[in-house]
Symmetry: C2
Subunit: 138 residues, 2 copies
DNA sequence: CCGGAAGTGTAGCCTATGCTACAAATGTGT
DNA sequence: ACACATTTGTAGCATAGGCTACACTTCCGG
């Protein structure tokens, strides 16, 4: 089947739906790592949104089985959430390393990696990793 | 100023707001090129959405001065819309050429370019173009 | 132990995108 | 010219994600 423009756009929209989940799972993992506990305000601060928005996303991810929380209590990751977080962190790092290896400035690499990472298929990610490997700086 | 995670995410969210505009402007340009006229159904078909959704996006882009339409009539681009479409087409092509030059398969390159193009800063785009240039495929 | 600060939750509103179902306009062929 | 197919428009609903304002818990310090 020839891949139509509609197929590509549908795929991109589907990707978008999972981005938030990955971002939040990754953020929870990072915050747990750095502070021992993850509070709603930490997430809100990290994403630059109000605590209300963070709260709703957390509630959704809890429905989806990625996050574990009780009212007024800190936020934990379920095993599935941890897996997702690890995968997201790895992909993020690969994209970041790749952009650096390409010669993009640190600042720009950090910004672009955030947007790009969710749209990189496994195949492209492998190509990114191979490139970063062979042109690895430092 | 150190770029915080919140800054990066805010930037990514802002980008997202403009994606639809670029995608639609580009699509209108392509369709006009191929069929002479651009109808709502053409856009709906291209994006794989209902004509209602396409209609609403078109209405928004008209408010934003990118598209020109009258009820029940074909869709035109304003000068600003044409400029945006051209820029989007160029960026899309650069990202696509870059992925191909990296060795990514045609099919995957097509999918990933769709998602990646909107998150590539001018600096990174230049790096992409330079790489595609020097590693020119076939 | 109790009062205020910090952290959460809830109510209610907004936009952007999805959808189906139904209504209205356009255009086309005999 | 009229009927029918195509194309647009509109009504009404849903979800994801933004927000402010206000209420309620928790937690800590004096």
């Amino acid at each position: 089947m020839p891949l139509t423009a509609a197929d590509r756009h549908r795929r991109t929209r589907r990707d978008h739906a999972g981005e938030t989940a990955e971002d939040y799972a990754e953020a929870v993992a990072v915050i747990l790592d750095q502070h021992g506990v993850c509070r709603l305000v930490d997430l809100a601060e990290r994403f630059g949104v109000s605590h209300v928005t963070a709260n709703r996303v957390v509630a959704r991810l809890e429905r989806e089985g990625l996050i574990d929380t009780a009212p007024y209590q800190p936020i934990e990751l379920t095993p599935a959430g941890r897996r997702l977080a690890r995968a997201a962190q790895r992909r993020h790092q690969t994209v970041l390393d790749f952009l650096r290896a390409l010669g993009v400035s640190e600042r720009t690499a950090n910004i672009d990696a955030e947007g790009i990472e969710h749209h990189v298929s496994p195949e492209t990610l492998r190509a990114f990793a191979a490139f970063a490997e062979s042109h690895g700086q430092v």
